[in-house]
Each structure stands twice: as C-alpha cells, then as structure tokens.
Amino acid sequence: MLELRSISKRFSGIVAVDEVSFSAAAGEVTGYLGPNGSGKSTTIKMITGLIEPTSGEILFNGELIRRDPIGFKQRMGYVPEEPHLYPHLSGSEYLTMVAQLRDLPSGPTTARIDELLRLFELHGDRHAPISAYSKGMRQKVLLIAALLHNPDLILLDEPFSGLDVSSALVLRSLIEELAARGKVVLFSSHELETVERLCSWVVILHRGKIVADDSVERLRALMALPTLEDIFSQLAVEQDTAAISRQIADLIEA
C-alpha cells in the first residue's frame, strides 16, 4: 500500500499541495484527478522523489520511503506526463540503459525488452532514434521502461496521452491485469470515462486540497450524480465553459 500522510508542498507563499492524505491499496487501481494546477503532478513528483515535500510523510508498505529511497525507487515504476526521452538513443538502447541503471541482469533483461517491444508493436522500430518516434511510440517506451523491473508500485501520469485506440485498449487491460496481480497502481488522467471504468477508488484534488477520496459508486450515491464527469465538474471545475467558448468565437470574428 502507498500511503500519503498530510503531504504539503509550498513554493514560498504558494501552497501547491496542502495537507494531502490518501492511500492507494494493492490490488486496486486508484485514480488521482484534478484540474490543471491542482497539485496532481506535484504530488506524483513527491512520491517519485523528483521534488521533496515541505511536510508530511510518504509510506510504502508501512515503511517511510525517505529511510530507504534507493530501495523504494527500485520497487517503483513511473510513467511521467511528458514523454521526455533522450532523442539520440534508439528505443532499444534507451531501455537497455534503463535496465543497466536498475542493475538488472543482462541476458534475461535483453530478452524481456525484446519481447515487450514486440508486444507493444515497437519491435520493428527498436533501432530507430527516439527523435523519429511519434508521441504514442514514446509513450510505449516509457511504459516498458516503467514495467521492466516488475515494480510493486506503478505511477501513471496521463499514460493514455498519444496512444491510438488499440494501444489504449491494451493499456487499459494491462492496468487491470497489474492491479489484479497485487500491484499498487496510482493512475492520474484527464480522461474521466477511462478513470471511471478502470478505477475502483478515486481521489480528487482541487487547489491543492483533497475534495473527494472514495470509491466511484459511493461518490455517485453521495452526490446523486450519474457520472464521474458530473461529479468532477461539481467539485473541481470553476469555469462557465459555455460562456468562455462564446467569448472566444466572438473575439476571432471581431
């Protein structure tokens, strides 16, 4: 289980994340939602160790991750929101490098990489430089890199971005499969339909604070709204989207 206890992050007067506490259990897919600027990515970066919390604790399986950050990172797989990869390396070279950085044994890992590339339909382009990859291909490389070492905790930040329909379907099934095999899966996305379908538990963040932390069914019942999109709109969206659309159209026609 991944547990966040009163995690806060302040950037000198600006509170990005404010006393956020939630947990993601093994065997479940936990959705982590929020509008842009809500502190979603900041929270995930604190979990991955890219930035340090101002206060609070993060525990994994009951142990503080700060006590053994290396050990924690060895059990964690992370797919970032932006597919930033080294463009001069080929897909195969990048994954080999990641495997070497994770100290995975050479022979079996090479075979594993090969097979994963095949399953993600990247095998034919494995020697091409990443700079020539489409966004979806880069996303696949990120996924493979995150799963290569059989992590216990998987953090996915907008994993469906850039994927075509068939790849998205594969990923959806994969997420379910991984959860079914006892992994902790924390999944952040703007695609509310997918979140609703995949996640058994949802945490909604708004302006750095948690505004919902419950199962989807209970949220629907509590708020008497039929879909997660409606719930999200009520809790986290402040704009009058129709009015804004009219204003934009009026401006360009002026």
């Binding site: 970032p80 001069h88 070497q100 994770r102 382009d125």
Partner: protein, 915 residues
C-alpha cells in the same frame, strides 16, 4: 512604400544575420551578438598587432625595388591569415547558406518566395563575412598599403596600393568562402540528404584540420630565390595564399616574373570557386527545398549489433555507453569538441613548423629522430582532448529527459562519478594515447616511444582527475548557464603557460629518455602525482556530502522568492540521492539559500599572484636542483674527434681533417664550439686542410681562468696552431662574434692570415646603433646569466644535434659563455680601435637575407668590404644567422673561392682540388 518582397527580405536578412553561427554549436540562450562582438574584437586586436610591420617598411632605407620584394613575406602572411580566418568562419557557419528543414517548416506555410530566402541568406552571410574581414584588416589595411604606396613615391601609388590590397583581400575571401561552400554544395548534390547530414559534420571537422594544417605547415616561399627553384614553382601552384600575393602585385602595378603565373591562377581559382559555390547553392534551393519536409533528417534505423562491450559494472557500462552515443550522435557536442581539438592542433602544427623549417637559424629537426615538436604535439593534443571533452560534458543533451537518472537509482553517487571518470579516460585519453603510439612507433625506434607512452599515461590520469575535481555530474545531464560561452582573456594566458610548461617538460623528458637512469625518477614522480590526485578525488567522491548535480543553479522561482524550508523537516529528512540540487536546502537548517557572492577581484588577484609566485619559486628551485645534477658533463660519453693541446694553463681541443694548403681555420660564434662547422668542415677537407677548435670552456676544451679578451683568445689560438704544427698560409673563417676574434687575430698576426671569410659577422659598431636596447640587453643578459644556474638555457631553442645540446646546457659551457659575454663590449671597442685592414688579401662577407633586412645592419655588413681591396659580399637566402648550418653550401663555396685566390697568389697558378 516598401514592397512585400523588400519587407520579406529585410525581415529575413535580420533573422539570418544573427543566426550566422551554426546554431548547433550554441545553446538556445547564448548571446550571439556578444559572442560575435568578442570575435570581432579579437580579430581587430590581431590586426593592430600586425599593423606595425607597415611602419617598418616605411622606415627602411633600402632601394624601393628591394623593399617591395622584401614585403612579399608580409603580404603573404596577411593574405594567408585572412584566408585561414575566412575558412574557419565558413566552418563556423556551416550549412548556413544551404536550405534547412527548420527554415522550410517555418517559412513554407507563409507567403514568402524561395528566392527571397536564398538572397536574404546570401546577403546575411556576405555581411557577416565582410565584417570579419574588415575587423581582421582594419589596421593592416591602412598601414601596409600606405607603406607600400609610399615606397613607390607617388600619391596615386598609395591610392592604387589601397585598392590593390582590399581587392586582393576580398578576392581571397571570396575564393576561400566559395571553396568551402562549393565543397558542401557538391556533397549535398551528390549524396542523399540523410547521408549528407551524417557526413556533413565530419566534413566540417576535416575542413578545420585542413585549414590549420595548410596555414601552419605551408613552406615560407615568398622570396624570389625560393620561387625560382622548379620544385617550389610547382609547389606554389597548389598553395592558394601565394596566388593572391601574385594578384596583389599585379593589381599594385609591381609585377614580378616569379609571381605572374600565380596571379593568373588566382583569377582562375576565384572564378571556379565562386562559380561552383553559386551554382551548387542554386541547385540546392531549387531541387531539395520541397524534399526537405518529406525526407526525414535521420536515416531509418538499420539492424545493429545487439552486443555492446561491457566496461565494468552495469552502471559503469550504462554511463559510458550513454556518453559515447551522445557524443557520436550530437552534432553540437562534436563541433564544440572539435573547436578545442582544433586549437590544440593549431598549437601542435605551429610547433611542427620548427620541425620542417627550423627556427631562426636553427635547422629543422630530422623527423626520424626523437624531437621536441612531435613530443610536444602529443602532450598538447592530450591536454586539449581532455579539457575539450570536460567542457563538452557540461553541456546537456536533453535536459528534460534527466528524470530517468533521478528516478532510476541503483547505486550511490560515487559509482556514477566513477562512470564519468571512466568515460573521460576512454573517450579522451585513450584515443590520443593510441594514436600517439601508432604514429610514434611507425617513425621512431621502440624505446623512446615506449618511454614517452609510459609518461603520457599517468599524465592523462592526472589531467582527468584535475578536470573532474568539481564535476559531480553525469556527463550531458546537467543544465548549463547561458552566457557561459564567452572568450576569456585568461584563456590565452593559460595556453601560453601550458605551452611553456610542456616545452620545458618535454626537454626534460628527452634528456631522461636518452639516459634511462634519469628516466625512472621522472616516471616515478608522475606516478606519485597521479596517485595523490586519485586519492584526493576518491576522498571527495566518497564523502557523504557528495550528491549528483542536475541543475547548475536552483530553479529561478526558488531563488527569486527565497525558499524557506521547514527546518524540522530538513533536519529529520536529509536529502536523498539526486533529489534536489545541492544548496537548495541549507543543511544547517537556517532556511536561507546560499547566495552567490559577487567575484572578489582583489581576492582572486592576490590568489593568482600568490599561486604564480609560488609556481615560479618552485620552478626556480627545481631548476637549480636539476641543473646542478644534469649540468655535470661526463665527457667520456662524448668521444672527442680531435686532440687536446696544452696552450699554457689549460688544454684546447683541435680537430683537423684533410690535407693541402692553405689550411682553413674555423672560429665559431659566441657559445659555439667546433661542432658548429660539422656541415662545412668535411666538405672543405676534400680539397684542403681544415681545422676547427673549441675555445676555452666550450666543447671538449678545458676552461681558462683568464678573462676572454681578444688578446687572450688570439694568443690561445696562436699557441694552439703552433703546437699542433699548423703552419701558414691560413684562411680564417669567423662566424658572428667569432668574426671579431678572427679579425683581431688577422690584425695582430697579419703574416699568418692569407684570406678571410666572414659568416654573418658581428660588426664592432653594432651596439652603438642600439643605444636604447643596449641597456635592456645588459639587463637581460645579467638576468639570463643569473638564471642559468636554474637551467634556463634549456628553455631556449636547442640544437637538434644531441652532443651540442648536451654541451650547451652543461655548467662548464655556461660559465665559459658568461665569461665571454662579460668581455663583449670591451672586445668590440678594441677591434674598432685596431682598424682592421687586410690589404690585398681576399675577403668574402656572407650575410644572411634575414640579417640583411635589418636596416642598420645592412651598411655595417657592407662596411666590412672596405677592409680588403679584394672583397665581395654574398647575400645568402633561406637562412638565419647560422648560415653555416642552414646553407652550408654557400659557406663552402665562399671558402673555396678564397682558397683558390690564395693559392693563385701563393703559388702563381690555380690548383684545382679533386672533386
């Protein structure tokens, strides 16, 4: 009202002008204007330094025709420098003229015509190039044409010279730039776009090497004598800088038969170069622009071998492979590395010039013997390879992709830093070492090569550890401060210090290589230093405070707003590996970010001064210790060719060869011994008897306690000749200061001298013409004499002859030299008072072309002719002061002429010597 096309041209011209430098070399935030301004200032400073030569031409008293011919050397130097700078500029703005995908993608959707883009690019390049040439010639372009025009006498000649100068420079510029563009254009047409892109960066690097090699290694042929030989006449047809010397003379109205064909070559070359460049560029624009969007810039991947060599642990292997791939696939990094290697290559080639062409009278080294230039070249290339690679390591490849190193962590920081060190060793030190081994083993015997390589290895380790002392990063993964790429004045000073230290070190090394017993301490010293540095670096690396750095400075928002971390949290949670940039959380928990203090100029100046003083003190002490040991000469190691004869209190070494009459007696210059005549005496011995000797203290001769006056030296020689049974008639040959002794001997013992040859002789009035400098000379000589005890003589140009080298650095020799220098002024004054007159005895005065160019020396050399009724002067070309080593044939010929005249007068007929 400006038309649309004019507006497009103006807007694009401005954009392209500021993009003239290859954008792949600079970071996105580089201040291009500042960088280009610094380049222009450097070029202008260079122009100012060289401009003084024009005033020298104006002050010359030689006949105008002679001045115009002697100015060829300066003209060639200016043209060659301009062409080299233009060539390097062309490399720096590589592919700026060609259409590129970035421009097409941005401009194609806009209503801009292709030919507008083409013209704007050409105009931008022409402007930038023109500014560079202007900066380089801003001062020389005034002083030289003015001087040359003034020499010809008419105001219109000055105007003509100005026109000729600038037209020549622009023509040379157009030729050079057009040539580089033509090379690119042809490659772009012949190869597919992907292959061209791959090959292009290697062509760029090869162009740098070629330009530097031609600039430094082309032979000095800008004299009529040099151009008159058939071999040289053929060679210059391949050296474009000489073509434009011919062009200048043609435009200036001072043509010379030796240069006329070169002028024609210049025009032809210009037409071909510019024509090819323009036509291939036009083809590029018309044929490839549309394809640029369709064809990818990168070739699709081919099957590659799955196996990559393991280089240690998996982590070390990952880092080394990552670095090697980044370097081989990132054009930006390769070009910057090539700049550093190019500077090293230029310095190595400048040294290589001495290998081929000698240096101020010292003949060139034979390349097949262990020599200083080649050894210095390997050390210089090693230094620049390591430093260049270290600089390139600082430049990120894809900053945002660094998250993978920060999140995928298997080991501690020291292991990552070990990977950095291994990468620098494998990618910088190893290639230079291997290349040095291959080249040196192919030209030299095994021992000196193995000895040098064994020293080069530890030196590589030392440089690596020094360069990585504060580098807590994985290469190519840390951010880089914008504006860091600036030309610093200190770089020049550092290069000078490096060259001086390398030169001294290599001289020590050569000495040690010749004596294996002395080699071991040198190797041991390097190994000890390397080990100490390694230990120091390990200590620092394994320190618990060491963290990997991914940001050069903390993110601006944190700096600007003053981050106030939770003190309790920071104390309870020490930062983990790679989580935060160093310093972003104060480990004392004060909550304040460490501020960057502004540079304290005074403090740094004092530090620099102290370090410099300490360095010189160490060098001095080391030099004294070294000289006291190494300066002891073991004469048994150098078998003498002649015999030792007691002249009263000390023995002098005399070496006589051949038979016949008259006997030729050689008197060498200050600081020289009989070995100076090694290229002349054997030839003379073939048709008469020839004797050379070492004055007291020099060579194999014993030192004398008596002051080295004219009288004492003449008396020593008289006794030496008498006791050796050498009888008259005698023909004396005196070089430099030796000519003073020769003339004094002739004046003191006139009956003994049948003829005289003076070889670049020192005139007794020399110092009178340098009233200002003589005080400096005194001071310099005094300081120089004091520093000889510290082995300073080893820093000066050394003879390539090992025995001469060993003698001239020995304590015995240096003391004798000091004694001789103390009496120079007195001896010159004494000779002047004597008023030498040889009467009817033949006298030939050999003056080197280089010496004859000095204005006040020319009439003094001519004055020698008045000392005999049978005299002549020969100006010897392609020679410095030591004509007898640079052009021994000229000396032999002069001696033969005097000998034959002497024989005719002595015996009434010419005795033709056997060939």
């Amino acid at each position: 009202m400006e038309s649309r096309a004019e507006t497009h041209f103006r807007v694009l011209y401005r954009q392209f002008l500021f993009r003239i430098v290859d954008l792949d070399i600079l970071s996105d935030q580089a201040d291009i204007v500042k960088l280009l301004g610094q380049f222009a200032a450097l070029l202008a400073a260079l122009s100012l330094m060289i401009a003084g030569g024009g005033f020298r031409i104006m002050r010359s008293n030689a006949p105008p025709s002679e001045i115009l011919v002697s100015a060829w050397v300066d003209e060639h130097s200016l043209i060659a420098t301009t062409m080299a700078v233009v060539g390097l500029f062309a490399v720096l703005s590589w592919e700026s003229a060609l259409p590129n995908q970035r421009d097409v993608l941005v401009l194609a959707p806009l209503p801009v015509r292709i030919h507008t883009i083409f013209l704007a690019k050409l105009a931008a390049m022409g402007s930038a190039l023109g500014l560079a040439v202007l900066a380089l010639n801003v001062f020389t372009g005034i002083s030289y044409p003015f001087a040359i025009g003034l020499v010809r006498g008419h105001f219109l000649d000055i105007i003509r010279s100005f026109a000729a100068y600038w037209i020549t420079m622009l023509a040379a510029t157009a030729f050079m730039f057009g040539g580089v563009l033509a090379m690119q254009g042809i490659a772009a047409q012949v190869l597919s776009r992907q292959r061209f892109l791959r090959l292009s960066s290697y062509l760029q690097i090869a162009a740098v090497g070629l330009i530097l090699a031609v600039y430094f290694l082309q032979p000095p042929l800008a004299t009529p004598a040099a151009l008159s030989t058939p071999a040289n006449a053929k060679l210059v047809m391949w050296l474009p800088s000489y073509w434009f010397v011919g062009l200048f003379q043609q435009l200036n109205g001072s043509p010379h038969e030796a240069l006329e064909p070169l002028a024609v070559q210049a025009w032809l070359g210009l037409v071909v170069s510019v024509g090819t460049a323009l036509s291939t560029l036009l083809l590029s624009y018309s044929r490839t622009t549309r394809k640029l969007v369709e064809e990818p810039d990168i070739e699709p991947g081919r099957h590659r071998a799955g196996w990559s060599p393991p280089l240690g642990s998996t982590l070390l292997t990952a880092i080394v492979h990552f670095c090697a791939r980044t370097l081989s696939r990132s054009r930006q990094h390769r070009i910057i590395l090539a700049c550093y290697l190019g500077i090293g290559l230029a310095l190595a080639l400048a040294y290589g010039r001495t290998l081929l062409y000698g240096y101020y009278g010292y003949e060139g080294y034979p390349w097949y013997e262990v020599n200083r230039p080649i050894l210095v070249a390997t050390v210089v290339m090693l230094c620049f390879a390591v430093v260049g690679m270290r600089v390139v390591f600082s430049m990120p490849i894809a900053l945002r992709a660094n998250w993978i190193f920060q999140t995928v962590v298997a080991r501690d920081a020291p292991e990552y830093l070990a990977g950095t060190r291994r990468t620098l060793l494998l990618l910088a030190v190893a290639p230079v070492w291997i290349l040095s081994a291959v080249v040196l083993l192919s030209i030299w015997p095994p021992w000196p090569v193995v000895g040098h390589l064994l020293l080069l290895g530890p030196l590589g380790f030392i440089l690596t550890d020094l360069c990585l002392l504060r580098f807590d990063k994985i290469p190519f993964t840390c951010s880089y401060l914008p504006g860091k790429a600036q030309i610093h004045v200190t770089a020049g000073a550092c290069i000078l210090v490096l060259m001086a230290l390398t030169d001294v070190g290599v001289q020590f090394e050569i000495y040690a290589l010749l004596h294996p017993v002395r080699y071991v301490p040198l190797l041991a010293l390097l190994l000890v230093v390397a080990s100490l540095l390694r230990w120091r670096a390990s200590e620092k690396m394994n320190s618990p405070e060491t963290m990997l750095k991914f940001e050069e400075t903390p993110p601006p928002v944190v700096l600007a707003l003053g981050l106030q971390p939770d003190r309790a949290f920071s104390q309870a949670n020490p930062p983990g590996l790679g989580v935060l940039p160093r310093g972003s959380i104060d480990s004392a928990g004060s909550g304040h970010l460490p501020r960057r203090e502004p540079a304290n100029v005074l403090r740094w100046t004092m530090r620099l001064g102290t370090a410099t003083f300490a360095l010189f003190g160490l060098l001095l002490l080391g030099g004294v210790a070294y000289q006291s040991v190494a300066g002891r000469l073991d004469l048994s190691e150098y078998p003498r060719p002649g015999r030792l004869i007691d002249v009263g209190g000390h023995r002098l070494h005399l070496h006589c060869t051949g038979s016949g009459s008259p006997t030729v007696v050689f008197e060498s210059g200050s600081g020289s011994g009989m070995l100076a005549w090694r290229k002349v005496q054997p030839e003379v011995s073939r048709w008469t008897r020839a004797c050379s000797y070492d004055r007291a203290g020099y060579g194999w001769s014993e030192p004398s306690s008596q002051p080295r006056t004219n009288h004492r030296i003449a008396e020593d020689l008289r006794v030496l000749l008498e006791k050796s049974g050498t009888e008259g008639p005698l023909v004396f040959v005196g070089h430099s200061l030796g000519a003073v002794y020769t003339q004094f001997f002739a004046a003191t013992y006139p009956d003994a001298v049948a003829g005289v040859v003076l070889v670049d002789a020192t005139h007794e009035e020399t110092f009178e013409h340098l009233p200002q400098l003589s005080a400096w000379i005194d001071w310099g000589m005094a300081l120089n004499k004091e520093l000889r005890v510290a082995g300073i003589s080893r820093l000066y140009p050394q003879s390539s002859h090992p025995t001469i080298r060993a003698f001239s650095n020995s304590n015995k020799h240096l003391e004798a030299l000091g004694s001789e220098e103390e009496t120079v002024a007195r001896n010159l004054a004494e000779l002047k008072a004597v008023e030498v007159s040889l009467g009817n005895r033949p006298l030939i005065v050999l003056t080197s072309e280089q010496t004859n160019q000095v204005d006040f020396v020319r009439p003094l050399q001519a004055e020698f002719l008045t000392r005999s009724l049978q005299s002549k002067q020969i100006i010897v070309g392609n020679s410095g002061h030591s004509i007898h080593t640079a052009q021994p044939g000229a000396v032999v010929a002069a001696i033969r002429e005097v000998v034959e005249v002497t024989r005719r007068e002595q015996f009434g007929s010419s005795l033709a010597a056997a060939p």
